[in-house]
């Protein structure tokens, strides 16, 4: 059984059909790239899976459970973590506090228990703090752990987001253009990081990305969208050679596979 099944989802905004019946699957421990030209519906599909939009029709099934239209805050608890295209960090907090905020869904204590600092609260806090330390070390953020997150350069802030998503121990990690705004060296590091994360955390990754060489390098499988429809689906090699993909990226009649 695949970890994530997107079944024929349709999303309309007013009269515009942004996604017109897209289906694909992400298997356990798979890195799946979701690509397509601008306006192809990638981000809309992505937002549908993370619960920001509700599809007009179609179903999204995660680990055997239908999650279509579930409230957004339920997603992390089910095992779906995400990062954002344009950083969405908690700007008043330090690096460590940001990462700890990611552990929210693994806590159960509420207002009253927290105000009285009951033993259970201390236990949860100690547990979260231990996991945060591990992730900070893993992502090389130890030295800046107690610095305000806004003091970090862009590429480092992206790593903080990654740590914040990983601390909830997701089974599926949704990454929205993780390479956006990174320089060449940083993209290389990111590729290594993604492969390492998949191995160490035993999770699947769905990657929406413009950076074609990154997608082709790390993905086990690539789904290509164009005008709200899936036009190809397969290994990076298959997709790279697919005439429909070449046409989508370069326009009809131009045969060079620059898309790859």
């Amino acid at each position: 059984m695949p970890l994530l099944e997107v079944q024929d989802i349709v999303i309309r905004f007013g009269g515009v059909t942004a996604v017109a019946g897209v289906s694909f699957e992400v298997a356990e421990r798979q890195i799946c790239g979701l690509i397509g030209p601008n306006g192809a519906g990638k981000t809309t599909t992505f937002n549908c899976i993370s619960g920001i939009y509700r599809p007009n029709s179609g179903r999204i099934v995660f680990a055997g459970q239908e999650i279509t239209g579930l409230p957004r805050h339920r997603m992390t608890g089910l095992g779906i973590g995400r990062t954002f295209q344009n950083l969405a960090l908690f700007r008043s907090m330090t690096v460590r506090e940001n990462v700890l905020a990611g552990a929210h869904s693994s806590g159960r204590t509420g207002f009253v228990a927290s105000a009285f600092a009951l033993p259970q609260v201390r236990r949860e806090a100690a547990q979260a703090s231990r996991r945060a330390d591990e992730l900070l070390a893993l992502l090389n953020l130890e030295r800046v752990a107690d610095a305000p997150v806004t003091a970090l350069p862009f590429g480092w802030q992206k790593r903080v987001e990654m740590a914040r998503a990983l601390i909830s121990q997701p089974k599926l990690l949704l990454l929205d253009e993780p390479a956006g705004g990174l320089n060449h060296g940083e993209v290389d590091d990111l590729a290594g990081l993604l492969v390492d994360i998949r191995r160490n955390f035993d999770l699947s990754i769905l990657l929406v990305e413009h950076h074609m060489s990154l997608v082709m390098r790390v993905s086990d499988k690539v789904a290509v969208l164009d005008f709200g429809k899936k036009i190809a689906d397969g290994t990076p090699e298959q997709v790279r050679a697919d005439p429909a993909v070449i046409t989508a990226y370069l326009g009809a009649g131009d045969g060079h596979a620059h898309a790859a």
Partner: protein, 339 residues
């Protein structure tokens, strides 16, 4: 595990100053003892009127703390917290003057009533943001004094005349005057609330409140139920400001609608900003400011205290843009840097 291999040792990172080591335990204990001494000393030092003023400052600090939870930490602007202050005061006044209750048992009642009211206000607040929320809560502050005067509940509230009540005497034959005991009551109640809020803000809930304020979409993606957090923050905030209202009723020994004009809401807001938005200790300074600065202004100019108050306020905002709390943080950072 070697996920971090090959990450660049970014030169820019070297420029980020390392945070200072945490304050040693003995210093913290010394600070707490110093604080306790400072809280208790006025009983023996100040005469009755000044002790009463300080009691009111502690009460205002507690009310500002309440506002700080919802506006400072959770980012929901409220210009209506005077309403919760009034409701808390009237709960205590009605129970004490009509039903002959003693003061202490009225506290949980007024806390519960204000929490319920705050929870109720929290729901429309979910659909409103920024200026709209500010104006909606403001209308509550404008409405409450008139509701309190209304004929239909005059038998309970005493209408325009208000209600009189009497300060509790010191229990167990403690050799304290009722003013001294009242100060101690305010310090104990406020101290307990400050401690509980301190714990809360440092917990996963406190982090969630701030995360919701900083970036709501990201907060939801972290599994935070924004609706629940915001309404509960409103309830807690209203409850604490209401408890402050209860204390004020019994400290002044009188409640009347005109003591709870919308000016109270603005006063609390001023206290929060001057003390420091999203700062617990700042709330304490905010309370002292809103109580004593008008008096100072009046001592400087009997004719135009409002002008003096305005000038002092602007000076404060200009010199301390992040409030007293920001000043304390800077001083602490300097001391640590030197040590």
């Amino acid at each position: 595990m070697s996920v971090s291999k090959g990450l660049p040792a970014d030169a820019a990172i070297a420029a980020i100053p390392l945070p200072a080591a945490a304050t040693p335990a003995w210093q913290r204990i010394a600070l707490v003892l110093l604080g306790l001494a400072a809280a208790i000393a006025p009983i023996f030092v100040l005469e009755s009127f000044h002790l009463f003023q300080l009691t009111m400052a502690v009460i205002m600090a507690l009310a500002v703390l309440g506002l700080n939870i919802v506006t400072g930490y959770n980012g929901q602007i409220s210009l209506g917290h005077g309403a919760f202050f009034a409701v808390g005061a009237y709960c205590t006044a009605i129970l004490m003057s009509h039903f002959d209750w003693s003061f202490w048992p009225t506290l949980p009642i007024s806390a519960a009533v204000c929490a319920g009211l705050g929870y109720g206000v929290g729901f429309p607040a979910l659909r409103l943001a920024g200026h709209y929320l500010a104006l909606t809560t403001f209308s509550l502050a404008v409405a409450v004094p008139q509701i309190l005067k209304h004929k239909s509940i005059e038998d309970w509230t005493g209408g325009v005349q208000g209600l009189f009540l009497v300060k509790p005497d010191a229990p167990f034959g403690l050799p304290l005057s009722s003013d001294q005991w009242m100060y101690l009551v305010a310090v104990i109640v406020a101290g307990a609330c400050f401690l509980l809020v301190w714990n809360l803000i440092r917990s996963r809930i406190g982090r969630a409140l701030m995360a919701t304020r900083d970036h709501a979409t990201a907060a939801e993606a972290m599994g935070m139920d924004i609706g629940s957090l915001k309404t509960k923050a409103f309830a807690l905030s209203a409850m604490i400001t209401g408890i402050a209202g209860s204390l004020s009723a019994v400290a002044i020994e009188f409640v009347a609608p005109d003591s709870f004009s919308f000016g109270v809401s603005i006063t609390l807001f001023v206290g929060m900003v001057v003390g420091g938005v999203a700062s617990i200790l700042g709330s304490l300074f905010g309370g002292l400011f809103v109580l004593f600065v008008p008096n100072i202004a009046e001592a400087i100019s009997k004719a135009a205290p409002g002008v003096i108050y305005g000038v002092i306020l602007i000076l404060f905002l200009f010199l301390l843009p992040d409030g007293f709390a920001g000043l304390l943080r800077r001083i602490a950072a300097k001391l640590r840097g030197r040590g």
